[in-house]
């Protein structure tokens, strides 16, 4: 049975409908992320779960109980905010103990719990410090500890790492995930950073325009994007126009050449489709006899640190090719003729709308460590 259930949720602010008909089940103990750009409704959805916004229609169930008239106070959910929201007039210990004191915990047991929390977040010795004396990352840890101290049923995190530097962000997200695993706590996480969502979640809900475009595990979302939006939002993608030559055999016609995708194709022969390729699935030399080969000319070479990205002009389109930086190999030069090789499994096919060509979307892979 679902631990947290959202049923046909809708939310409008005035005339604008921000969340449209959203249904979702969150399992107990899972780490679920809402991923999407700004304005997609992810934060609003989280705030509805927390009780800070009232749904225009639809219901929210937590552990089978309808939350319709339940105030945020009584929902037993913890919340971590983007700007930490630590109480400036209380020190670290006071902040962490806040929920405990509200619940009536007496001095000694509260102190013990605070010490436990400080150990969990690795900040023993900081008990007497005030929020203004802490860095952003430290404040967010304290905010996490404060929310967890009262042992909530689930933890809601609203873009908790957006305000932090890149390096701190990486460390902290791994810490959040390990704490979650350690405590077996259900966590609902909102972010616009796809790398964040993919790296720490059990499941990801990609949102756009108030709706969930796809819900699945990170690898599902990445390898089998259900819609064009998900395909272009997650990772980078190159798209080529192709025509189905033989649906049963999985043959495609691209720029006069026959390519092989995984058979059978869920399309009819002669249909025009959009062929999408992930940059990392293309190599410059065939690795097996099955591989498809397309000719191309190198347009640009981008050195991104651990990854080298080539922009190759092929079949009238720009195609991205990513490979690990190998010091033994020489990088191709612009203008060089190369071969693009990829297996049938790398071909992602989607109906193509002739009027709308999906351009090659380059999303920077966050190689800045």
């Amino acid at each position: 049975m679902a631990f947290i259930e959202l049923r046909d949720l809708r939310k409008s602010f005035g005339k604008t409908e921000v969340v449209k008909d959203l249904s979702l089940e969150v399992r107990k103990g899972e780490f679920l992320s809402f991923l999407g750009g700004s304005g997609c409704g992810k934060t609003t959805t989280l705030r509805m779960i927390a009780g800070f916004e009232t749904p225009s229609s639809g219901s929210i169930f937590i552990d089978g109980e309808d939350m319709e008239n339940v105030s945020p106070r009584k929902r037993r959910l913890g919340m971590v905010f983007q700007n930490y929201a630590l109480f400036p007039n209380l020190d670290v210990a006071g902040n962490i103990a806040f929920g405990l004191h509200v619940a009536g915990a007496k001095g000694k047991s509260a102190k013990k719990r605070v010490a436990e929390m400080l150990e969990l977040i690795g900040m023993e010795g900081y008990a007497q410090r005030y929020p203004r004396e802490l860095s952003g990352g430290q404040q967010q840890r304290v905010a996490l500890a404060r929310a967890i101290a009262v042992e909530p049923e689930a933890l809601l995190l609203d873009e908790p790492l957006s305000a932090l530097d890149a390096k701190i962000r990486q460390r902290l997200r791994d810490d959040i995930r390990s704490i979650q695993k350690k405590l077996g706590m259900t966590m609902i996480y909102v972010t616009h950073d796809q790398e964040e969502a993919l790296s720490i979640s059990d499941r990801v809900a990609v949102m756009r325009d108030g709706r969930i475009e796809q819900l699945g595990s990170p690898s599902e979302i990445y390898d089998n994007p259900a819609t064009a939006f998900v395909a272009t939002f997650i990772g980078s993608l190159s798209s080529l126009c192709c025509e189905v030559a033989d649906a049963a055999a999985g043959l495609l016609l691209v720029d006069g050449r026959i390519l092989r995708a995984v058979a059978p194709l869920a399309a009819s022969s002669g249909e025009t489709l959009s062929l999408s390729l992930r940059p990392e699935s293309i190599t410059l030399s065939p690795s097996s006899a099955d591989d498809n080969v397309l000719p191309g000319e190198v347009e640009a070479v981008k050195f991104l640190g651990s990854i080298v990205r080539l922009v190759v002009h092929s079949c009238g389109q720009a195609v991205f090719v990513d490979s690990f930086n190998d010091p033994r190999r020489a990088l191709p030069e612009p203008g060089e003729e190369v071969k693009l090789c990829f297996p049938p499994e790398a071909c992602h096919l989607r109906p193509s709308h002739p009027a709308v060509r999906v351009p090659a979307e380059e999303i920077s892979t966050s190689v800045e460590a």
Binding site: S71, R73, M79, F81, A85, P88, F98, P131, A143, R146
Partner: protein
């Protein structure tokens, strides 16, 4: 080259020249002359006598009344102003009300002195509207039961008319700075509204509230026009007393007036100092 740099620096300060000359001529110099005058007697000799006179009973009483008046109107203004300011900024009311209230507060805090006195006479004077309504609608005889507009409490009520809007304007930034997330975090941790205010909201606002209180105190302490227009000098307030020394009262003693004025300046200086310190404290917390 340090020399030309030093010359340029000096030149920069020259740019302030005209204004500084004006400020010195018409603000600093008069203030200093008052300071000097308070240490002199009528023939110009140095003396502490004026300060000794400050210990006179009617003068001490005057300071006491003025301090009481300032404290009372500052307290009422602080509480009411804070509540109204909170109501329009963070109380969930339609947004238009906030800008209207702020604008109106800007106007109302200017509406002091003679026009304000008249307004309150028309409202709570012997034949004022509220006085008459109280009698006809509720059968309450205000003046019969001891109320008098031309008294301490009448003047206090009048002062609150400009104290409250000043408070609304002054505390607004602090209330804006009271982040919504603090309240939400508190709620998510199970705290009620009361608990939130008691343990988070009020502690955070306290420095700003105190600072504003002191501002209002100083505002009332130095006020002359309203008291003069309403009570005509009946109420023994320090500003009125000072005015009387200048304008040739029966016991006209300008040197005493200087001492009184100096006393007032010292109190205002203390107020400003406390106000600035509290504001600095408040801004430290608000990061």
């Amino acid at each position: 080259m340090p020399r030309s740099q030093a010359l340029r620096k000096a030149g920069s300060w020259l740019g302030l020249g005209p204004f500084l000359c004006f400020a010195i001529a018409f603000m600093i110099l008069p203030a200093l002359s008052i300071l000097a005058g308070s240490f002199m007697n009528k023939s110009g000799a140095f003396t502490f006598a004026n300060f000794a006179h400050l210990a006179r009973q009617n003068i001490v009483a005057s300071y006491r009344v003025t301090i009481e008046l300032s404290a009372v109107t500052a307290a009422i203004g602080t509480v009411l102003g804070a509540l109204v300011s909170y109501a329009v900024v963070a109380g969930g009311l339609p947004k238009g009300l906030r800008s209207f209230t702020i604008t109106f507060s800007g106007v109302a805090s200017n509406f002091a002195g003679v026009p304000l006195a008249f307004a309150f006479i028309a409202t709570l004077g012997r034949v004022g509207l509220v006085t008459a309504l109280a009698k006809s609608l509720f059968g309450i005889d205000l003046y019969g039961s001891g109320f008098n507009l031309y008294s301490f409490w009448g003047l206090s009520l009048t002062y609150v008319y400009f104290q409250m809007p000043l408070m609304i304007l002054t505390i607004e930034p602090a209330i804006v700075g009271l982040r919504r997330e603090w309240r939400e975090a508190s709620e998510s941790l199970g705290a009620s509204s009361w608990t939130y205010w008691l343990r988070v909201g009020l502690p955070i606002l306290t420095p700003s509230l105190l600072a504003a209180f002191i501002l209002l105190f100083g505002n009332a302490f130095g006020a002359y026009a309203t008291a003069y227009a309403l009570t005509g000098g009946m109420l023994n307030l320090v500003p009125i007393l000072i005015g009387a020394q200048i304008r040739g009262d029966v016991l006209h003693d300008p040197n005493l007036g200087y001492a009184l004025a100096l006393g007032m300046v010292v109190i205002m200086l203390a107020a400003i100092f406390l106000y600035s310190s509290l504001q600095k404290l408040a801004s430290r917390w608000q990061r």
